[in-house]
Symmetry: C2
Subunit: 361 residues, 2 copies
């Protein structure tokens, strides 16, 4: 979708944006995104965080931006301005780059408020700016990250899928933020079926691809090399793919991950399912650097986020790049509309290597 | 090095090339490489395989190429022709694309003969065309692949390092062709020190970089996120890097693998050490597709190979691409000369992203 289509399609959508860790780059990239006034024509933004913090950064970074509208429960939403809901009462000391438990607590309060407003339908979707896994670890927040937080609240089966999305590529990861040694135990027939179901349904419903073609990667080097380098492909992955294929799903694989990305085979599919984090995220970031968005597939609500972290090392220095947040907002708007029946949100057409054409399943 | 330098530098070098599995693409890519007659000016090729097999493919593929010189023990080496040593006696039935134990046995016989000739110094180095891990498994050959075969013969400590090399990038993998679940057990202080020693010495001696800058990747997602996603970084990798750095080695990390490749940080280093196969080979192939060479670092002799397999699915169809074999030959020649004291074999200068400059260690 281009800007004009998006503008036409997104009228009146209220999209929440959580500020994330206020000592990270979240406030800065929010300010930068809305320094382009045309964003206001696309949707009504509701920022979950603190007007004081945003004002502090405006002054500190000297960014010429919007004057926001402070929204309170029961007051009106200003459709022409950036609405800010202050989610904590005490004024906080902003200290860019510093990891503090206060900033962690405030980030959680913003998330909790956004969750509430998603439940009531006050907002149509949510974009989350980065939090720090280190500062948000306390007894009231036991989730490793946003994905699990929203999964707990908005998935009946408590199962969502981390899906990286760009205009070239969509990659889901079966096992997400866990140590490498735990990956093997996550590869089961059930988890594969569940992940592929979430992925397929999301590509159909959220991206409006009628018959999605999905590639599944192997777990081991060379997809196990027919059992010589690992047995999971022969014992679990192949039979599960065959089972789903028989039922009419266009699921293919398991592919050897290095060759799959190296030879550009990914261009032939609507989405890829990787078995673990680095297997999917390394090639995604290598190919789509800066334009990637983290989408949580399988939720009843729409949630996206930029594909980077708090970036404490560059916070407050006015060098953070807001591209990924802008893409995350665009994707959230597109999915909200897709769920209401908008036509297919096509991936950018990629020039194809003719040598690959005959290799396809 | 360009063609002219290589020609000047490589005079009289005798380079062996094993034919690999003759039902794979090995014979075809050899014929295609030498259909460019200028290759003969660079070195004296000694093919380990079978004159009959090469002749069969010449006819079958109708490639207009060299007439080879059949070399026998005690006969002369023809410096102006492709010399072929027939390594098995019985004529074999060539059957492109078919996995046979006969082809596996012949591939081993060629390797054994080449090993012998490397030991006597008859050849200066070896380039190996792909074998099939499935067809070479018998009681006389218990190695998972070429790397382990040569490691056993030409490394005192029985330890070599798989190093992927292109003009942009060099990536070593600490643990090679093993199931993913076994990776964790390979990450120890000793294995890290040994791998980094082999890597550093190879970049110094084989690529003539005086003070190589080496990046080490973490094992877990986000390099363990300070212990939240795995402990190996804090307990093993970080202290080992610190220990080596203190001793004057320019070793940095551990880096989060997705961000490292996504943000182009790899451009800042002379080599990268990945913890396991897919972590290193996925981004290597994604970035360097078709120009990559598999180099075995840490051997007393020089061994390279193209970075693809037997490709049974396209064997005999005249569509195999010989680029990687040609690059493997070039790299072998460059390393042979480097070990004799030739100047630095520089990586291609990569246009650098100015945003990265300040991020570096």
């Amino acid at each position: 979708m281009d800007y004009e289509d998006r503008k036409e399609n997104s009228k009146k959508v209220k999209l929440g944006i959580t500020i994330g860790d206020y000592n990270g780059v979240g406030p800065e990239i929010i300010l930068k995104v809305f320094s382009d006034k045309r964003m206001m024509d696309l949707f009504i933004p509701i920022i979950y965080g603190s007007g004081r913090v945003l004002s502090w950064y405006k002054k500190h970074l000297n960014i010429d931006v919007f004057s926001h509208h402070q929204y309170h429960e029961g007051s009106y939403v200003n459709e022409k301005k950036v609405n800010v809901i202050s989610c904590w009462k005490d004024p906080q000391q902003v200290d860019p780059g510093k990891k503090t438990t206060e900033a962690g607590k405030c980030a959680i309060q913003a998330l909790e408020k956004a969750k509430e407003d998603l439940k009531t339908g006050f907002i149509d979707g949510i974009v989350t700016c980065p939090i720090s896994k280190e500062t948000v670890q306390d007894k009231n927040f036991t989730f490793p990250g946003h994905t699990e937080f929203f999964q707990d609240a908005f998935s009946k089966e408590k199962k969502a899928l981390m899906l990286m999305v760009s205009e070239q590529m969509r990659v889901g990861v079966l096992s997400g933020h866990i140590p490498l040694e735990e990956v093997k135990s996550k590869i089961t027939r059930d988890s594969l079926i569940q992940s592929l179901k979430i992925l397929t349904n999301s590509i159909k419903g959220d991206f409006r691809v009628e018959k999605p073609k999905i590639a599944v990667l192997g777990l081991n080097p060379h997809a196990g090399d027919n059992g010589l380098l690992g047995k999971e492909e022969n014992e679990i992955i192949k039979p599960t793919i065959a089972e789903l294929y028989k039922k009419g799903n266009l699921v293919f694989g398991p592919y050897s991950a290095d060759g799959f990305f190296g030879a550009g085979l990914w261009k032939k599919f609507d989405a890829v399912l990787a078995m673990y984090h680095d297997q999917g995220i390394i090639p995604f970031k290598t190919i789509c650097f800066n334009s990637g968005v983290n989408y949580t597939a399988g939720l009843s609500i729409v949630r996206t986020s930029p594909d980077h972290g708090t970036a404490f090392d560059i916070a407050g220095k006015n060098i953070a790049d807001e591209t990924s947040l802008r893409e995350a907002i665009y994707l959230a708007l597109d999915v909200i509309k897709a769920r209401k029946g908008a036509p297919e949100n096509k991936m950018r057409v990629v020039k194809e290597d003719p040598r690959l054409l005959e290799k396809l399943p």
